[in-house]
C-alpha cells in the first residue's frame, strides 16, 4: 500500500545503513562513531555498522556509568559516553610550533600544520552540537581565530542522531539544547525499528543523501521517529534554571554551599575533562634529548589545578572551594557575558564522571534556594 511521503524527509531501511558508511568513505571521510570500548561508549574510527553499539544501553547516575545489554536492535538506544565532539576539534594535546636551535645561536621557528583529516562523525547528539557551537564561538568567532581548531572544524561532516534514550543524568530539555536536534548538522537521523528517517541540512548533506538508496519517509515513519524523542524529553527529571545566573552567583560568593561542595570535591578535574564546552588549556615545551629542537605544545587544562591560577609565587585559587566556585560561576554565570548564554548544555557528563558524584544541578539549586539578592 503506497503511503504519502513527507516532504523533506527521506527514509533509509535498516538493512541499507552500511551504505551511509560506504558513501562517506568513498567521499573521502574517515568515519568516526560510537563504539563500545573499555565498558563505555567512545567515539573512534568506524568502518561498518557492526562497529556501532547494538543492544546496549547506558545506566548513568551521579558518579556512575555502566553499560548494560538490552533487547533492542537499535544502534543509538543510549545517551552518551564521556566524550563529545571536543577531542575531534580541540585535541587533548597537540604541538603548535617547534623551534630548531641553529649552531649559530639562531632560532628557527616552524608552525606545525594541524592534522585535520576530513572526518564524518556519526551519532552526534543535540547537546554535543550545542557544545560545538560554543567551542566555535570561543576558538574561531572571537577576535583571534585558532588555526588548528578551524582546520579541523571545517573538515567535519556531522551526522546527528536524535536522542531517544536520555540518561538519568541528562537535563538537555531544561537547558534547551535537546534531545531534538534542530540545527548545526549536515545530516540528521532519527532511528526507528525499520531504519532511519533522514533530513539533510547543508549542501554536503544533500549530496551524501542523494547517493543513498533512500525512499520518501512516510507520515507514519515520521510519527514513529517523533514519539521516542518526546518520551525521552519527558523522562528527564533533572532541572536547571535557564536564566542568566551571573548576578545571582556573583552576589553569593560567600554562600556556605561552596564550602560544603568543596568538602566533597577532590579537585580532580574529571568534570572539566568530560565537559564538552570547557576550553582551558596549558602550554608547555618539550625539548629533544640532544637539545637541538624543542616542541611547544598545548594540552587540556583545568581550573581545578593549582597551576591554573599561578602568577609568580602567588596562587589565586589555592583551595578547592575557590576552584569549584570558579568553575561554576564561570560555566553558569560569567559565560553569559562572554558567549551570550550559559556554558552548560545539559549533557550530564560532569555528574556521571565525578568520582564522588557531585551533581551541579543540586549545587545550583541549593545556592539559588537560599541566595542573597543579586
Amino acid at each position: 500500500m503506497a503511503q504519502m511521503a513527507a516532504a523533506g524527509f527521506s527514509f533509509l531501511q535498516r538493512g541499507r545503513f552500511q551504505q551511509l558508511f560506504d558513501v562517506l568513505q568513498e567521499a573521502g571521510y574517515r568515519c568516526v562513531g560510537p563504539r563500545v570500548t573499555d565498558g563505555a561508549i567512545l567515539y573512534d574510527t568506524v568502518t561498518k555498522v557492526e562497529d556501532l553499539p547494538q543492544a546496549v544501553r547506558d545506566r548513568q547516575a551521579p558518579g556512575h556509568y555502566r553499560l548494560e545489554s538490552s533487547k533492542s536492535e537499535l544502534y543509538f538506544a543510549w545517551a552518551n559516553g564521556p566524550q563529545a565532539l571536543k577531542p575531534l576539534v580541540f585535541k587533548p594535546r597537540e604541538t603548535l610550533w617547534q623551534c630548531q636551535a641553529q649552531p649559530s645561536r639562531g632560532l628557527q621557528f616552524e608552525t606545525v600544520p594541524p592534522e585535520a583529516p576530513a572526518t564524518a562523525v556519526i551519532g552526534v547528539r543535540a547537546c554535543d552540537l550545542a557544545a560545538l557551537r560554543l567551542q566555535d564561538r570561543h576558538f574561531i568567532h572571537g577576535p583571534v581565530v585558532d588555526p588548528a581548531y578551524l582546520a579541523r572544524r571545517r573538515n567535519l561532516f556531522l551526522v546527528a542522531v536524535n536522542c531517544t534514550h536520555p540518561a538519568d543524568t541528562c537535563f538537555c530539555r531544561s537547558t534547551g539544547d535537546g534531545p531534538q536536534v534542530t540545527n548545526g548538522f549536515d545530516l540528521l537521523l532519527s532511528e526507528i525499528d525499520a531504519g532511519f528517517v533522514i533530513e539533510a541540512r547543508t549542501d554536503q548533506g544533500v549530496d551524501v543523501l542523494g547517493r543513498l538508496p533512500t525512499e520518501g519517509a512516510t507520515a507514519k515513519q515520521l510519527e514513529a521517529a517523533r514519539q521516542p524523542i518526546a518520551r525521552g524529553a519527558q523522562a528527564q527529571t533533572r532541572r536547571f534554571p535557564t536564566r542568566n545566573l551571573r548576578d545571582t552567583l556573583l552576589s553569593n560568593l560567600d554562600h556556605p554551599r561552596w564550602q560544603q561542595v568543596a568538602e566533597r570535591c577532590l579537585s580532580c578535574g574529571n568534570c572539566t575533562a568530560v565537559c564538552p564546552t570547557c576550553f582551558c588549556h596549558s602550554e608547555g615545551d618539550e625539548p629533544t634529548l640532544d637539545g637541538s629542537r624543542s616542541e611547544h605544545y598545548r594540552q587540556w587544562g583545568s581550573c581545578f589545578t593549582r597551576t591554573h591560577s599561578y602568577i609568580h609565587g602567588l596562587v589565586i585559587r589555592g583551595d578547592t572551594r575557590l576552584r569549584y566556585r570558579q568553575w561554576l560561576t564561570h560555566k553558569l554565570g560569567t559565560w553569559h557575558e562572554q558567549y551570550g548564554r550559559s556554558g552548560c548544555v545539559g549533557c550530564g557528563r560532569c555528574i556521571s564522571w565525578c568520582p564522588v558524584g557531585i551533581d551541579l544541578t543540586e549545587e545550583i539549586a541549593a545556592i539559588c534556594a537560599s541566595a542573597a539578592d543579586a
Partner: protein, 285 residues
C-alpha cells in the same frame, strides 16, 4: 602599515626570532633585555601601543608575558624589563647580548592615551609595576604640551629596588612634572618619602574633574590608592589599572587569565576601574 591588532592575528602561533642587542642589569634581581627582530620585514611591520605585552620565549623552556617598556615611536628596539622569579625568567637572566629569543605579540589593550589629552596625568606604580608605564611616560614626554600636569608616583619595598633613578631625576626636570618616590624601607641616600606609595597621594593636590589616573603594581596598593582617589572625588571612569594574571596564549583562548567574565590578556591588561571593581581584591578572582 598594519595595526598592532592585525599584526599577530593572521598567524597567532608564529614566533619571530629576536636578538638581544643589549642586556642591562637594573638591580640584583631585575634586568632589561633590549630586543630586535632579526627579520627586517618583521621589524618594519611590528607596532605596539603603550601597555601592550609580548609573549617572550626562551628556547626549550617556555614563554612568558612581558610588557614592553620601550618607546612605541621606536618599535625596532623592544625593551623588556624582567624580574627573576621563575623557571623561564631565571633562564633569561643568564642570556647575553647576541643570544636569541622568540617573540610573538603584541597582545592586549594598552593605556587609554586617547582619553588623556588636556588632562592632568597621574601615574601610581609600585615595584616593577612601573615597567608597563614607562612607555606612557616616554609617550607623554614627547608630546608634553598636549597634557596638563604630570605626576609620577612610584613606590618600592626597599630603596635599593628603585629602578631608573637617573630617569626619574631626568623626568622630574621636565616642565610641570612632579616625581614622587617612596620606599617602605629606606637605605642611605634616599631623599624621598619613607612609607607607602599611597602615602604620596596624601601629599599631592588633585583636580578630580580634570585628571586621568593610570596605575600598575600590587593589587593591594592599587586598591588603597583607588580608595583615596574616590574619596577625593576622582570619578571611577578616569581610573585605569593594569592587571596581571596567568597568561599562556595571549589570545583569549587558554582561559588561565580570566577575571570573572574578562580575559585579562585580550580585554586588558589595562582596564578601566569601573570594569573590574567588583572583583578587585575578591579572593579567588
Amino acid at each position: 602599515m598594519p595595526s598592532s591588532e592585525t599584526f599577530y592575528q593572521a598567524e597567532p602561533y608564529t614566533l619571530h626570532e629576536a636578538e638581544i642587542v643589549e642586556r642591562l642589569q637594573e638591580s640584583p634581581t631585575i634586568f632589561t633585555l633590549r630586543l630586535r627582530f632579526t627579520d627586517p620585514g618583521i621589524r618594519s611591520a611590528y607596532r605596539f601601543a603603550p601597555g601592550q605585552f609580548n609573549m617572550v620565549y626562551l628556547y626549550g623552556v617556555g614563554e612568558i608575558p612581558i610588557s614592553i617598556v620601550s618607546d612605541p615611536e621606536d618599535p625596532f628596539l623592544l625593551d623588556h624589563t624582567i624580574r627573576t622569579v621563575g623557571r623561564v625568567t631565571r633562564g633569561m637572566d643568564r642570556l647575553q647580548a647576541g643570544d636569541r629569543l622568540g617573540v610573538r605579540g603584541p597582545y592586549g589593550r594598552g593605556w587609554p592615551l586617547d582619553k588623556a589629552g588636556g588632562r592632568d596625568v597621574i601615574l601610581v606604580t609600585g615595584g616593577l609595576g612601573c615597567a608597563p608605564l614607562v612607555s606612557v611616560i616616554n609617550y607623554i614626554i614627547r608630546r608634553r604640551e598636549q597634557y596638563g600636569r604630570f605626576v609620577l608616583m612610584q613606590g618600592v619595598k626597599h630603596s635599593d629596588e628603585l629602578l631608573w633613578r637617573g630617569k626619574y631625576e631626568r623626568w622630574s626636570r621636565m616642565p610641570d612634572t612632579q616625581v614622587m618616590l617612596a620606599a617602605d624601607v629606606a637605605g642611605s641616600n634616599w631623599p624621598w618619602l619613607v612609607g607607602r606609595v599611597t602615602a604620596l597621594l596624601e601629599q599631592v593636590s588633585i583636580d578630580p574633574m580634570n585628571c586621568i589616573v593610570m596605575m600598575c603594581g600590587p593589587e593591594i596598593m592599587m586598591r588603597t590608592a583607588i580608595e583615596n582617589l574616590l574619596q577625593r572625588g576622582v570619578p571611577e571612569e578616569v581610573i585605569w589599572l593594569s592587571m596581571e594574571r596567568n597568561m599562556q596564549c595571549g589570545t583569549g583562548h587558554c582561559g588561565h587569565c580570566q577575571l570573572a567574565g574578562k580575559f585579562v590578556c585580550r580585554d586588558g591588561p589595562v582596564f578601566c576601574y569601573q570594569d573590574v571593581k567588583a572583583f578587585l581584591g575578591k579572593k579567588g578572582f
